[in-house]
């Protein structure tokens, strides 16, 4: 009928109009938005390129300079100031490994214990607990040379009076990385859900039993990652070690308590780098590669360990 046809025509026009409207909105991206999006993405990309550029430049320079001196013998030979061709990093590598062994021995019980206290037992409302918490964050940012001075004053001389032995260097480095371990352990402990704790307590377990059987086992991956990352940092620190006795030019394998002195990788690299001869520069660069290999191995192990034990709640 007529009315029917008119209705159809009107509807057709209305639909066409609505569609055109929708299309206009959907396909019309304001030019300003497009430009801003691109610029922003570009800036972010630039940021990461700048960060990577520094790292790449360092690696490239070390590799290029160190390649001529790099060989397997670097890991087995003792250093020499007379014949750079025969020099190696053996005492430094052993010294570094012993140092970080000592760091782990100290930092794991003390760091994990402090983290458990702060997370499970400390009353957050008390002002002294809040003070401790703030200060641990600060300690992680203190320059490492300060720890060297601290070690010299109280560990090598002063209170502990250990002398310039490797154990003293270990202790100094341990204090340096302790805040990092405490923070990582706290994060790991905090990640354990309260429901697990409640379930254990509801069965009649004490607080310590709950921590020992449920909280700690679940936080071990996080704690282990924190410890290994802290130890990686300790491996690369030269400044504090320079003050607590790692300056001696050592050609034998160092031991923790021997008074004859010790050496460590970053210090040995430094000792080679300050020599004017070209060969020693190359040797220092090769030493950097050696240290990077050790660091890479440790970090890969940390990541593997973390992935293997990752809990999914």
């Amino acid at each position: 009928m007529e009315g029917g046809e008119l209705y159809t025509e009107r509807t057709r026009l209305a639909v066409a109009g609505a569609r055109a409207n929708v299309a206009a909105v959907l396909h019309n991206q304001p030019r300003r938005d497009v430009i801003l999006n691109t610029v922003f993405a570009g800036l972010l990309l630039l940021a990461i390129l700048v960060a990577l550029a520094g790292l790449v430049a360092l690696l490239a320079q070390a590799t290029v300079k160190g390649a001529p001196a790099f060989s397997g013998e670097l890991f087995t030979n003792v250093p020499s100031t007379i014949d750079p061709g025969k020099a190696g990093f053996r005492p430094a590598i052993i010294g570094s490994l012993e140092l970080i062994g000592g760091v782990m021995l100290f930092v794991v019980p003390v760091g994990v214990g402090a983290a458990i206290y702060l997370e499970e037992y400390a009353d957050r409302t008390k002002w002294w607990n809040r003070l401790i918490e703030v200060n641990i964050q600060n300690l992680a940012a203190v320059p490492s040379i300060i720890y060297g001075i601290l070690g010299l004053a109280f560990i090598v001389r002063g209170t502990l009076d250990l002398g310039f032995i490797l154990a003293a260097g270990s202790l100094t480095l341990a204090l340096l990385v302790l805040p990092v371990v405490i923070i990582a352990a706290r994060e790991a402990i905090r990640a354990v859900p309260a429901s697990i704790r409640e379930g254990s307590l509801a069965l009649g377990a004490t607080k310590w039993q709950t921590i020992r059987h449920h909280v700690l086992p679940a936080s071990i991956p996080g704690i282990a990652t924190g410890v290994i990352l802290a130890v990686s940092r300790a491996l690369g620190e030269a400044a504090p070690l320079l003050l607590v006795g790692a300056t001696v030019f050592v050609t034998f394998d160092p031991t923790p308590f021997s008074p004859d002195g010790y050496s460590a990788l970053p210090v040995q690299i430094y000792q080679f780098a300050v020599r004017p001869q070209e060969e020693f520069q190359a040797l220092a660069a090769a030493g950097i590669i050696v240290m990077l290999i050790v660091l890479l191995a440790m970090n890969s192990f940390a990541i593997w360990l973390r992935n293997r034990y990752e809990q999914r709640w």
């Binding site: 409640e198 254990s200 069965l203 009649g204 004490t206």
Partner: protein
């Protein structure tokens, strides 16, 4: 006094000469008039004027009622009426919340549960709890159940694990995979695991805080059947949002409401009525109860 004379004296309202410590409501046996017969029911929990507040703000006020042995006691009521807060008083879980304060008196088999020489850890060995969201430990099924008994130094752990899983109607489903991680089970199975874990330490009471609200109807049905079996041996208190569940499984029901103060800023819960489930759902004494159970108010 003969037995008959004693009952007559009680009916007349005199205090029964029950042996036991003279501490508040030291009445281990309650006498209830039912269908013209005296029924003796052991009282497990006797709460008198129990109030709980968080940082000074009241959550539950003046709760007075008795929980009887081998009964399923349901706490029902609208959201925010403090049912969870109240049930957590019975195993001293509110101690874990620093801002919580519990006033009033709760007697557990005649002993003051909040007495100065009562160790909450020991209390929780007798009064177990199952939570709303299943919370198995991130260990194997066997280790989940064995944790409690090992802690308590019980012997024959293997037998205990088997018995607990059988009691929770879970043994047939998991007997071949006891070493698998508990998280591999479905939600309903995990909740039954939590119930088995609770049973393994041989408690006296099982508190259940909305045990089925995170589960599907079929698992809910299985757990309700389980509860009816369990009440032969244990006393159960259950908080539930589901009125039909309370009607199906419980023997006694307490109905709580939310009260507001004059400024309408503060709200707390209060028991309105506590009676046989049948009576609460068919012929309640209080109009508010009737409105709630018939669905007139949420």
């Amino acid at each position: 006094m003969t037995e008959e004379e004693r009952r007559q004296a009680e009916r007349a309202g005199a205090e029964p000469e029950t042996p036991g410590p003279e501490r508040g409501l030291a009445k281990p046996i309650a006498v209830r008039e039912e269908h013209g017969q005296i029924e003796h029911k052991d009282v497990v929990f006797s709460s008198k004027d129990v109030s709980v507040s968080y940082s000074g703000k009241a959550a539950v006020r003046e709760v007075t009622f008795d929980v009887y042995k081998n009964n399923i006691t349901a706490l029902i009521g609208p959201s925010g009426c403090g049912k969870s807060t109240l049930i957590r008083c019975f195993n001293r879980m509110n101690d874990l919340i620093p801002t919580a304060k519990v006033e009033g008196q709760i007697l557990y088999h005649g002993e003051d549960l909040y007495g100065p020489d009562v160790d909450p850890v020991q209390a929780r060995k007798l009064i177990g709890m199952v939570f709303q969201k299943p919370n198995p430990f991130p260990k194997s099924i066997y280790d989940n159940i064995a944790f409690g008994p090992k802690l308590l130094g019980m012997s024959d752990i293997d037998d205990r694990v088997k018995h607990a899983l059988e009691s929770a109607a879970l043994w047939d489903e998991v007997k071949d995979r006891l070493d698998e991680n508990a998280f591999g089970m479905s939600g309903g199975q995990q909740q039954r695991l939590c119930i088995a874990r609770c049973i393994a330490v041989d408690p006296d009471v099982i508190l259940m805080d909305e045990p089925c609200s995170a589960l599907d109807p079929i698992s809910t049905g299985k757990i309700e059947d389980l509860m009816l079996d369990l009440k032969e041996q244990y006393s159960i208190v259950i908080v539930t949002h589901n009125m039909q569940q309370a009607a199906r499984v419980s023997d006694m029901t307490a109905f709580l409401i939310v009260e507001l103060d004059s400024s309408e800023q503060n709200r707390w819960g209060r028991i309105v009525e506590y009676d046989d489930t049948e009576k609460i759902f068919t012929n309640p004494s209080d109009k508010r109860t009737e409105d709630y159970v018939s669905g007139k108010v949420g």
